[in-house]
Symmetry: C2
Subunit: 134 residues, 2 copies
Amino acid sequence: MMELTRKGEYAIRGIVYLAAQPEDRVCLLSDIAAAVDVPPTFLAKIFQQFSKIGLVKSYRGTGGGFVLGRASDKITLLEVVEAVEGQIIPNRCVVTPSECSRDVFCKVHPVWKRVQIQVRDVLEGVTLKDLSGA
Amino acid sequence: MMELTRKGEYAIRGIVYLAAQPEDRVCLLSDIAAAVDVPPTFLAKIFQQFSKIGLVKSYRGTGGGFVLGRASDKITLLEVVEAVEGQIIPNRCVVTPSECSRDVFCKVHPVWKRVQIQVRDVLEGVTLKDLSGA
DNA sequence: TCTAAAAAGACAATTTTTATCTTTTTATTG
DNA sequence: CAATAAAAAGATAAAAATTGTCTTTTTAGA
Ligand code: SF4
Ligand code: SF4
C-alpha cells in the first residue's frame, strides 16, 4: 500500500539527474534515460508530462533536449510526484466526499485527511536542489 | 498515488462496525457486510485474514460469527490496514534496499523513509475505539 | 532539403484489484 | 446421529491499472 509506481520512481530519477547537471546544459532524453536506468520510451512519456506543466523545458530538433523549467531549489518533490502520479490521495473520499455517503459521520475520513497532509508536508519540504546537491 | 484499495476500505468499515457493537456480541458476517455495504464474499476473505492474526475471533456453526480479538482501544488503525494491505511502503527500496543499486548515495531514499514513519505514526495513533465511539 | 530530436497517439503484455462460486471444515441442535 | 448453520479454504474470472513498445507527426537546426 501507498507504493510509488515505477513511473513515479523513474520520474524522480530523471528530473533529479537533470537538476544535477550544470545550469543550462541541454540533456538528451536518451542520455538521461541511460544515466538513470529507465526505459527511454517510458521516460519520454514522463518528460512530456513534465514539459506540459513547465517543470522542464524542452527543445526539439538538432541540439534539442531538456533543461529544468525553474531553479532546482524552486521545484519540490511534491510537484514532481504529483505531476506524474496525480494528487496524494490516501482514500478517495478525501478528494471526492460524495463518493461515500458515510462521510457525514465517519471518523476515519479525517484520519486520511491527516495522512494526506503529513505526506504532502514531507514531500513539499524537499527540493530538487536538496536531492541533487553534492 | 498512495491510495487505499477497496479491500482496505472495506476492512476498516467492517472491523469498525464490529468495534461499535456491544462488547461480546457475536456478529454474522452477512450482517456486517450488509451494514457496511460491502460484498459479503469479499468481506469474508478480509475477515479470514483478520482472524489469522487474531484481530478478530471467529466461531463456526450455529450461533457463530465474529467478535473483536482484543479490546477496541488495543487495536490500532495501522494494524488493521497492514493486516490486509501489507506494510506501508512508499517506495520499494524502503523495505528492500537491495532492490536498487543507487540506494548507497540516493538522497530520495531517506525521504521515503520519513514518509513511511509519518504515515505509520498517524495510523498508529488511532484506535478502533476512537473510530467507533459515539 | 536532410537530419535530429521531442510530441503524440495507438497498441499490448503483465500485474493487481475486485470480486464470485464451490467445496470443505467445524459447531450446534433436535 | 442427522440436519443445519456458519466460517474457512480454494479455484476461477472480469475489470482495471501498470508498464511498457512502436509508429507517426511535429518542430527545429544545419
Ligand atoms: S467510510 Fe469513511 S473513510 Fe471510508 S470512504 Fe466513507 S467517508 Fe471515507
Ligand atoms: S533511486 Fe533512491 S529512491 Fe529510487 S529506488 Fe533507488 S534508492 Fe530508492
